[in-house]
């Protein structure tokens, strides 16, 4: 099998993993040095595919042979897919060649489980070591960690990789037991915990050996089981705070060929994934907690409005908010005002009072924010619109609802 064939199969097999970012690594440069590669800390998207997702890394599996039988996965042992395996040198060469042509910022390497967790992990580490030590590659490397692997191998992975990830895949223990019989949430949490302990150690002892400077992340598949958004978000929150994850990626379940009966035939609406990302951003950057976005009793995020607007409509007592008096963190909670504009408003406020026209120039969505704010020259008419009415006027036109009409009809 030639390299093109392998690439075709092993990139196809890797596309279900939503992790893509190449940000968070410390700054590195190859100026005047042997070898290649740099990181700016920001990450660059080098292209976009027709699914609207960015290409920033060479995302491939080392092999799609797998002895596990995870029902949502196209590579499961009972799946009848063409199988392939890269050699170590092939992965290294592809990475370097693509990098030189400026197609990618680095490598995201994952693998089916072959032989054993340790054996598989060893191979992944071997490739990263080869890139770093033989080719002096300073670009980004993200390694998928095999949770059952020996902690010493995970430590070695952290020495070469910028980021490590351990995929939780499903939000509840029950779903994992049902759909991924060889996996164990317990083991996955232990692996995440051991990575966090090493990251903490490194933070406390800056001169200790390098360890995954861009931190760790995970992925959850949405819509392969019956879990609702509340379950998904509270699991994400638990993972963020317990293991100091940089990111939780959400991946709407894609139907797979010869799907087993245990997973749905149709994908969830893509908009659901989008709303989860928006809610996740509120958790990470706005100081929201999951229980503010969805009640502990369960439920899904609204599809017609974004989660911040939904929160504001459900908490009208905080509004209208006087932008000349309110806390920065509260200003950022106004629908239509992002973190950056919240900061700008507070900066401007030190010089003079905020007026309605300022917000127009800041390109805030005026329709969205008007009912929620008070400025020096503007305040909304009290009780002018009920939350119901507001919601109807602010709801987004349904998007993508008919993305899979043929499947929905079936």
């Amino acid at each position: 099998m030639d390299l093109t064939d392998k690439l075709e199969i092993l990139a196809d097999a890797a596309k279900y993993d939503a992790s893509c970012a190449s940000s968070g690594a410390p700054k590195r440069s190859s100026e005047g040095k042997d070898g290649i590669g740099a990181t700016s800390g920001m990450g660059i998207c080098h292209s976009y595919t027709p699914d609207g997702r960015c290409v920033s890394l060479l995302k491939i599996l080392l092999t799609n042979f797998c002895i596990y039988d995870c029902q949502y996965c196209v590579n499961r042992r009972t799946s009848n897919v063409p199988r392939a395996r890269f050699s170590v040198d092939e992965v290294v060469k592809l990475t370097v060649d693509f990098y030189l042509r400026n197609y990618i910022d680095g490598l995201f390497l994952s693998s089916g489980i072959i032989r054993s967790a340790d054996y598989t992990m060893e191979q992944l580490v071997h490739i990263a070591r080869q890139l770093r030590e033989v080719h002096n590659f300073r670009g980004y490397i993200h390694l998928k960690t095999i949770p059952d692997a020996d902690p010493a191998l995970i430590a070695a992975a952290g020495k070469y990789a910028d980021r490590l990830s351990v995929n939780i895949e499903l939000p509840t223990q029950a779903s994992v037991e049902k759909l991924a019989p060889e996996k164990s949430v317990h083991t996955i949490k232990l692996a995440m915990g051991s990575i966090r302990r090493r990251l903490d150690e490194k933070a406390e002892e800056p001169r200790s050996p390098k360890f995954a400077p861009a931190g760790q992340s995970t992925q959850m598949i949405v819509g392969a089981d019956a879990s609702d958004d509340q379950t998904i978000l509270s699991t994400a929150e638990t993972l963020y705070t317990s293991y100091k994850l940089k990111r939780v990626y959400y991946s709407a379940f894609s139907p797979i060929p010869q799907s087993p009966g245990s997973v749905p035939l149709a994908p969830p609406p893509m908009l659901r994934e989008h709303r989860l990302y928006q809610a996740d951003f509120l958790l990470r950057s706005y100081g929201f907690v999951a229980s503010e976005l969805l009640p502990a009793s369960g439920g899904n995020l609204a599809l017609d409005i974004d989660p911040k607007l939904a929160w504001a409509l459900a908490n009208r007592e905080h509004f209208p908010l006087d932008l000349n008096l309110a806390d920065a963190s509260m200003i950022a909670r106004v629908p239509g005002i992002g973190l950056r504009n919240a900061k700008r408003i507070v900066e401007l406020r030190r010089l003079r009072r905020i007026r309605y026209a300022d917000l127009v120039r800041l390109r805030c969505s005026m329709k969205k924010i008007a009912p929620f704010i008070v400025t020096a020259d503007y305040s909304p008419v009290r009780g002018a619109a009920s939350s119901e009415v507001l919601r109807r006027s602010l709801a987004e036109a349904p998007q993508q609802m008919n993305l899979w009409p043929e499947l929905r009809a079936a």
Binding site: I67, G193, S242, M270
Partner: protein, 496 residues
């Protein structure tokens, strides 16, 4: 003729009604400095940015001597020091190809110099334009970092090994070149654009002058592999071509190798391939299943302990693992804490975090060897709530204490200690099997319970939270006393 910053005094020239020709940011900055020093208002200055524009002004009245009378060269005022942020923005905005860039930038610094700091806010009219110009330039830098495609030249052709062609909308080539210098190490490359080109020979950057365009004509075998990757990493089940186009402006597509395969990918996906995520080409190949029995595929794992599988209450859900007790199987003193904390939850051992360190200190002060003591907690899973990015310890509820006493009872039955030291009220409630006890009533007073002594002291975490040093020492003393008492009670028992 036009005045040139540096060659003629800019303030003199401007006051004589001469346009100022600047070719770049450094020149503009020099000129602006002088103009500000003589307080020459923006409307009084005519800036031009290109030589051919300058020709339009050829023959304009120019008499530097006369102009020198118009301003008094001894009257220069100090110019305010510009903050770094403003300087950076000006420098970026100067790369934005708009005809009036120098005039606009001068108006901005003029306003700043006159105390009008609002000019930096995007809520200000000039501020908004300045931010927009900076953004456009950064965006162009980003796009050039992202969408330049190097093609590899045959070895025999010599340096540069890689060449790229790009049509930037703003003057960002210098900073972009720097980006590729850091990326490519000692490998040589060239980036050609319609009006300037740079060459990196592995050690130095050279401006190779305008109109070098060869990249577009190169054949590169590496491109075929890239297209294979590009096609394969696309998930047809998620087709969303509009989103893709909104990310990459159309002017870039024609220079991207993948641009040529997009239409076909979109139409294939739309025509039904999106039923599954798998690419059609892969689906058509012959597949194989992996012949391995389910039980052989099971990873070798330690069988989970029954404690780890405990579901007596909900606490297991948000914890990493259950933390059981540790210590000699028949220790005579058992220390019972409340519950594992953040560190214990990760490590799987009791008392390893800050509270554990304080406990070590107290044990030393009391003359006790930690290795002779059995350490455990009333509740085995960490109960917490998120606070910012941290896990904040939450006191277990009575029902959780009761649920978990199942495990403490087992430990008691196995270890059979003579003395139990309860650290804090959760431990006390669990040991006594009742919610109706308070720390206050029991501290420092040994109780007989179920045929053993129970001594209550503070929990080390409580001591850690005591705000002032004096009360902290006092609280530690209470703990040390309690542990000494525990030893005495043991001795009494063995003397009996």
């Amino acid at each position: 003729m036009a005045g040139t910053a540096g060659s003629i005094n800019a303030a003199v020239a401007a006051s004589a009604g001469q346009p100022l020709l600047v070719a770049g940011f450094a020149e503009w900055r020099e000129a602006a400095r002088e103009l500000l020093a003589f307080d020459i208002a923006p409307h009084a200055v005519k800036w031009i940015g290109q030589r051919d524009e300058a020709d339009l002004f050829a023959g304009a009245p120019a008499d530097p001597h006369e102009a020198a009378h118009a301003i008094d060269l001894r009257q220069a005022r100090p110019v305010m020091h510009l903050p770094r942020k403003l300087m950076d923005m000006l420098q970026s905005a100067a790369c934005c190809r708009v005809p009036d860039r120098w005039a606009f930038l001068y108006r901005v610094v003029w306003r700043w110099q006159h105390g009008d700091q609002v000019v930096l806010s995007p809520a200000d009219e000039d501020g908004a334009r300045l931010h927009a110009m900076v953004k456009a330039v950064h965006r162009e830098e980003h796009d050039m970092h992202a969408y330049i495609r190097f093609r590899e030249r045959p070895e025999a052709a010599g340096a540069p090994r890689f060449v790229a062609w790009f049509e930037p909308a703003h003057d960002v080539l210098p900073q972009v070149a720097q980006h590729f210098v850091s990326r490519m190490g000692r490998i040589s490359w060239m980036i050609a654009t319609p009006d300037a080109s740079v060459l990196w020979d592995g050690e130095t950057l050279h401006n190779t002058g305008p109109l070098v365009s060869s990249a577009a004509d190169l054949d590169d075998a590496g491109e075929a592999l890239w297209l294979t990757y590009y096609r394969s990493i696309f998930n047809p089940a998620r087709l969303n071509a509009g989103l893709m186009r909104s990310h990459i402006p159309s002017r870039f597509w024609k220079h991207l190798p993948e641009g040529s395969v997009v239409p076909q990918m979109v139409s294939q996906a739309a025509a039904g391939a999106r039923r599954t995520g798998q690419a059609e080409a892969v689906g058509q190949r012959r597949g194989t299943t992996i012949p391995i029995a389910a039980d052989k595929a099971q990873p070798q794992r330690q069988a989970p302990s029954t404690l780890d599988e405990c579901r007596r209450c909900e606490l297991w859900q948000h914890a990493t693992q259950a933390v059981g007790g540790a210590g000699p199987a028949h220790a005579r003193i058992m220390l019972v804490g409340e519950q594992p904390g953040d560190q214990e939850d990760l490590a799987g051992e009791p008392f390893v975090g800050p509270a554990g360190q304080l406990l070590d200190q107290v044990l030393r002060d009391a003359g006790l060897d930690r290795r002779t003591i059995y350490l455990t907690n009333a509740v085995k899973h960490f109960k917490w709530e998120p606070r910012g990015k941290r896990r904040l310890h939450k006191t277990p509820a009575q029902r959780e204490i009761e649920a978990c006493s199942y495990w403490l009872d087992q430990e008691l039955a196995q270890v059979k200690p003579d003395v139990i030291v309860a650290l804090g009220s959760t431990a006390l409630k669990s040991v006594l099997g009742t919610g109706n006890v308070t720390l206050k009533d029991t501290i420092g007073k040994p109780i007989r319970h179920d045929g053993r002594w129970v001594i209550t002291v503070y929990h080390p975490s409580f001591v850690l939270r005591v705000p002032d040093e004096a009360s902290k020492q006092q609280a530690m003393a209470v703990m040390v006393d309690g542990l000494r008492q525990a030893q005495q009670l043991l001795q009494m028992k063995s003397e009996n």
